[in-house]
């Protein structure tokens, strides 16, 4: 276990010996890792490797059998969660629930909590001054349930940032987003990271995003089977451990730093 003192800013996230069983299946079998403050990291793994369960533990939604999770050195309480921004993959919102983007964002700010009685000018002013660089104005009147994947992603990130989080957890952030949307999403994450000095944890099964956007990668498959810089983790051996199949990273031609990883089925 690396020494905490190597990270002068301290740790944003510490997970030790985390074990969780769902029914008779042990989903997490002793997960250990830590995330230094101020980094963009990726937690990757194939479907069913325990990503969602781990994320639920990080948010205090799932109690582990053993082990512990510390956020900024403290156990998870509602106080600590106030410093965490969570961006879910999708909302449980019914399509017919006509909540506008403005009303949704107002739920986050203390000053706009009584949006029902406040004028549009009042709430828009408060939202605008809280998020000056977000171009939200064209979306404010749209119903949340009618947004495209990319727009919803942007609105959900804006919602988390309104709480001034120090740690941002994103669940499968590029699922349901097309390629141009994906690019603008990563630009947004880079921008946010630079401006707010946040710790960002991207939880995803999408290996190709790791090269370009994460400083550190953790590969999960019941346990953290490898971790390190993207280059270290992407060597085929350690990835095979995580994905249980042959994986070949290859570098192809549309732009510097753009890599793709092709999982291949084992040959009989």
């Amino acid at each position: 276990m690396p020494d905490i003192h190597f990270h002068p800013g301290g740790l944003a996230l510490e997970v030790r010996g985390l074990r969780v069983s769902l029914g008779s299946t042990q989903v997490l079998r002793g997960v250990d890792f830590h995330v230094p403050r101020g980094q963009v990291v990726a937690l990757i793994g194939p479907n069913g490797c325990g990503k969602t369960t781990l994320l639920r533990c990080l948010l205090g939604l799932q109690k582990p059998e053993s082990g512990e999770v510390r956020v900024f050195g403290r156990h998870i309480t509602s106080e600590v969660l106030r410093r965490v921004g969570y961006v879910p993959q999708r909302l449980t919102l019914d399509r017919s629930f006509i909540l506008s983007v403005r009303e949704f964002l107002c739920l986050k700010l203390r000053e706009t909590r009584h949006w029902f009685w406040q004028s549009r000018r009042q709430t828009d002013g408060l939202l605008q001054s809280a998020l000056p660089d977000f171009e939200l104005a064209p979306l404010l009147d749209r119903p949340v349930a009618a947004l495209s994947g990319g727009q919803l992603q942007r609105v959900l990130i804006a919602y988390s940032l309104l709480g001034n989080p120090e740690l941002l957890l994103l669940d499968e952030p590029t699922a349901g987003v097309d390629t141009p949307g994906e690019n603008s999403f990563y630009e947004l994450i880079t921008q946010i990271h630079q401006r707010h000095r946040l710790t960002v944890v991207l939880v995803s099964h999408d290996l190709s995003m790791v090269y370009r956007h994460a400083a550190r990668v953790y590969a999960l498959n019941g346990v953290i089977c490898c971790e390190g810089t993207p280059e270290e983790v992407m060597n085929a051996d350690s990835l095979r451990q995580a994905y249980g199949i042959h994986v070949t990273p290859y570098h192809h031609e549309h732009g510097p730093g753009h890599h793709h990883v092709l999982p291949q089925r084992p040959q009989p």
Binding site: R95, F97, L99, S100, C106, L107, W115, G163
Partner: protein, 275 residues
């Protein structure tokens, strides 16, 4: 029309419970809990039979108690078993309704009471029930406005509500208890069979016309009020049964809102494959 005390009481009940169900219905339908309300209503029949068997002249309290018990039983079974909510509710609804009907068959001479609870009898509402409806309306309106933001967030995503520090389980429980009390209270208006329409039709009407949650809440409240009071006036004028006339009036408002929807620009909606 208003000179008769029974008419005054019927109007007061409609003015209180119509808008209350309309506003509560916005969240009930958004959280897909219409069937929950139906289950609680139908199961209350067992409560009425039990109340009469125990010798109560007015079995309302026993009915409310049994409804609450069924609501909590749904929550408990949902947490303790792997069964789908639909299955749990259908199971409890048929069991308690059947128990109620067996109870009635054993009790002689309560046929009128059975009809009154099955189909509602808004004109027989007593002064105590109006007072009860008033107290309940004040509590529920008060809580809905204080908890509008938490309840909205809970509807959007329970995990987001948890991360925001809201007590998700407690909020759910309070919502379920309030819904059960309002439904049980409204059974005297529309009867067990039709009561769910009070929490379903006004929000549906509002959704056709609203562009955001604020408009939807206000319009649903107004549709509940108009359907209740309008239906009562029509039932008095044309000597029709109160409950069913309220439902048909609410449905007529819904039909009008469908026409209004055609002139409203809406963002393109994804098509549903099963149509």
């Amino acid at each position: 029309m208003f000179s008769e005390p029974y008419m005054q009481r019927a109007f007061l009940a409609a003015i209180l419970l119509g808008p209350l169900c309309g506003l509560l219905g916005v969240f009930v339908t958004a959280r897909r809990m219409a069937f929950f309300s139906d289950t609680v209503a139908h199961s209350s029949l067992a409560g009425v039979a039990l109340g009469l068997a125990l010798g109560f002249r007015d079995p309302t309290w026993v009915m409310v108690g049994v409804s609450l018990m069924v609501a909590l039983l749904i929550l408990w079974l949902r947490e303790r078993t792997d069964l789908l909510s639909d299955t749990i509710m259908a199971l409890l609804m048929s069991t308690f309704m059947a128990a109620g009907l067996i109870g009635y068959s054993l009790l002689r001479g309560f046929r009128g009471e059975l009809d009154r609870y099955l189909f509602g009898d808004i004109f027989s509402i007593g002064p105590e029930e109006v007072v009860l409806a008033f107290i309940l309306a004040m509590i529920v309106f008060g809580l809905l406005f204080v908890w509008l933001s938490p309840l909205t967030l809970l509807t959007v995503h329970p995990d987001l509500a948890h991360v925001a520090g809201l007590p998700v389980r407690k909020l759910n429980l309070v919502f379920v208890v309030l819904l059960t009390l309002v439904v049980a209270m409204s059974i005297r208006l529309l009867g067990i069979i039709l009561v769910t329409s009070l929490v379903v039709i006004p929000p549906a009407t509002a959704r056709n016309l609203a562009r955001n949650l604020r408009q939807e809440s206000i319009l649903s409240l107004a549709a509940g009020l108009l359907g209740g009071v309008g239906g009562l006036i029509l039932s008095f004028q044309f000597n029709l049964p109160g409950g069913p006339t309220i439902v048909v009036t609410s449905s007529a408002l819904f039909a009008i809102s469908l026409v209004g929807r055609r002139w409203r620009q809406r963002p393109p909606q994804p098509t549903r494959s099963w149509i």
